[in-house]
């Protein structure tokens, strides 16, 4: 097994509150892992471990190991900026910058020291194509990113993340604020991206988890209750709690 992401006996505390409890989990490269579970069970917290976004919150304490590509990403020597370049993130609420569409996608390249404008322009187009947005915005790249719809903004944020060629993509309910058509576009996109990326996606939409993911992890009150092949989790869950959640008996 050479998993690209793993955690070992991982605990996370928000001050006194024990939000993630002894989680051990492995994710294989070029797969999509869905994180499901009732609200407040720790899915977003878990996702934020892998690009160290939890660092921004005061009072967070972590024990155990988080490995990305076999490297302990909480080691003192680790460069967080470099980590975040290889582990991209798409947030629940679309959060484009108040800049032009073009500059939104170019931003990640610029802050990472790329100055070749030719390359940037090509990469912007490529990323927008990958995110299935190019045709809709190719004539208004100079327009403000605020002038496109919420669904388009979310795909713009995906393009923005792809433009710096991360290895891993973290998506926190990327489609929750979107209409069914935009949502379907994003699901298709996830399928496409799997070739080049490893993806972790948080979702409250179980059908969506079933459609897009290879593996599914069910969290409950900060614990990883069950983790395995999506098909198995959805058809023959081993744990009673998983079964109850899948069948909609609580959540």
């Amino acid at each position: 097994m050479n998993s690209i992401i793993s955690t070992r006996f991982l605990n996370l505390y928000y001050n006194e509150f024990h939000a993630l409890k002894g989680i051990t989990m492995d994710i294989q490269p070029n797969t999509v892992a869905a994180l499901i579970g009732p609200s407040g069970c720790g899915k977003s917290t878990f996702l934020r471990l892998f690009n160290r976004m939890n660092d921004l919150i005061d009072g967070v304490k972590i024990t155990g190991d988080v490995l990305v590509n076999g490297k302990d990403i909480y080691a003192d020597v680790l460069d967080v900026v470099e980590l975040r370049r290889t582990v991209g993130m798409v947030f629940q609420k679309p959060n484009p910058f108040p800049k032009s569409i073009f500059e939104n996608v170019a931003y990640g390249m610029r802050v990472n020291g790329i100055t070749d404008n030719q390359y940037i322009a090509e990469k912007v187009e490529e990323s927008l194509r990958q995110a299935a947005l190019w045709d809709e915005v190719k004539d208004k790249l100079k327009k403000s990113a605020f002038e496109i719809s919420g669904g388009q903004q979310q795909r713009l944020c995906i393009a923005r993340a792809l433009a710096i060629e991360p290895k891993i993509l973290l998506m926190d309910e990327p489609a929750s604020a979107l209409d069914p058509i935009s949502s379907a576009k994003i699901e298709e996109l996830i399928w496409e991206l799997k070739k080049d990326y490893t993806i972790m996606i948080v979702t409250h939409n179980l059908q969506q988890a079933g459609r897009v993911s290879d593996t599914t992890a069910f969290f409950y009150l900060g614990e990883l209750v069950e983790y395995g092949d999506t098909k198995e989790i959805f058809t023959q869950p081993k744990d009673k709690k998983t079964q109850n959640y899948i069948t909609g008996r609580f959540g």
Binding site: L56, V81, G88, F91, P98, S100, Y107, G108, R110, N112
Partner: protein, 292 residues
């Protein structure tokens, strides 16, 4: 079934009364402002002329213009901003973006708030002691600017801090998640977004600085100096102090009275123009931020 008391009429009456009270109060404010301006116009408008603005004072300040005072005030405003703007903005960035919530941050905030509450005459006294005497800058533009800068520093810090705080955290997270450093995030995302509000705060504090008398009293202001400054170590006249002088201790107070009103008009016009510029700039930059 609940039975609601049928008191619609009395409710309506109370509503009306409340609205009327609010409306009268707001009219009151407008009327006061209008009276002040009309009063100044009535008394001062006739001395306003091209000469008044561009000429030196003459004949014991009963004739001539207020040119050196205008130039002096402009120098002081510029000087104080050169000092207060970078210091204020940088410390606001530190407080809001870097300092962790804790004792130190609360302490710094408490101090800036207290600084804002200190009477301006105390700043004047402090400026005289530190800049004029201890540091040996003498009565000069430099001493006056630094004193005024200190006075307005808390305002700059507070407005900048508010401007930074109003930037949604999701922008910062989005930037950091793309591998931007904290400094890049501040420079390329946070500051451009908050820039319109920072500028507004700055210009409003310019308005305030231009009208202050007490801080310049012992640090720079000249009673009568009919020439322009050559360096930052020169003394200057200034509009608010000039106004004070010709209305209380001129050679002929009655005769220089219209000059005093004229000076007040110029001062008010300056502040007003600053406010208008602030608004225009804010609009211009908020549009620009979205496009850029």
């Amino acid at each position: 079934m609940i039975k609601f008391a049928d008191n619609r009429a009395s409710k309506q009456r109370k509503e009306n009364l409340a609205f009327l009270t609010f409306r009268i109060m707001s009219y009151f404010v407008v009327v006061i402002l209008a009276v002040i301006i009309l009063f100044l116009l009535y008394n001062g408008a006739r001395v306003i002329s091209w000469d008044f603005i561009t000429a030196m004072p003459a004949e014991g300040m009963t004739k001539g213009g207020i040119f050196p005072a205008i130039v002096g005030t402009l120098c002081l405003v510029a000087g104080s901003m050169v000092f207060a703007f970078p210091v204020g903005v940088l410390s606001a960035i530190y407080i809001n973006e870097y300092a962790k919530d804790g004792l130190f941050k609360r302490f710094v905030k408490l101090m800036t708030n207290n600084l804002a509450g200190i009477p301006s005459i105390v700043f004047g006294l402090f400026g005289m002691s530190l800049f004029v005497n201890t540091l040996g800058f003498g009565d000069s533009i430099l001493s006056g600017s630094l004193t005024l800068g200190l006075l307005t520093l808390p305002v700059v810090i507070r407005t900048t801090e508010e401007a930074l705080r109003s930037v949604d955290n999701s922008f910062r997270q989005g930037s950091l998640a793309l591998g931007a450093t904290k400094l890049q995030t501040i420079r390329k995302v946070v500051l451009p977004i908050s820039f319109p509000n920072i500028i507004t705060g700055l210009i409003l504090s310019i308005g305030r600085v231009s009208g202050e008398t007490a801080p310049i009293l012992f640090t720079v202001a000249a009673y009568f100096l009919p020439k322009l400054p050559h360096s930052i170590f020169d003394q200057v006249m200034a509009l608010p102090y000039h106004l004070y002088v010709i209305s209380t201790s001129g050679t002929n107070i009655e005769e220089s009275r219209p000059m005093a009103y004229g000076t007040a008009l110029v001062l008010i016009a300056f502040v007003l123009i600053m406010n208008i510029i602030a608004n225009l700039l804010r609009r211009y930059f908020s549009k620009k931020v979205k496009m850029n």
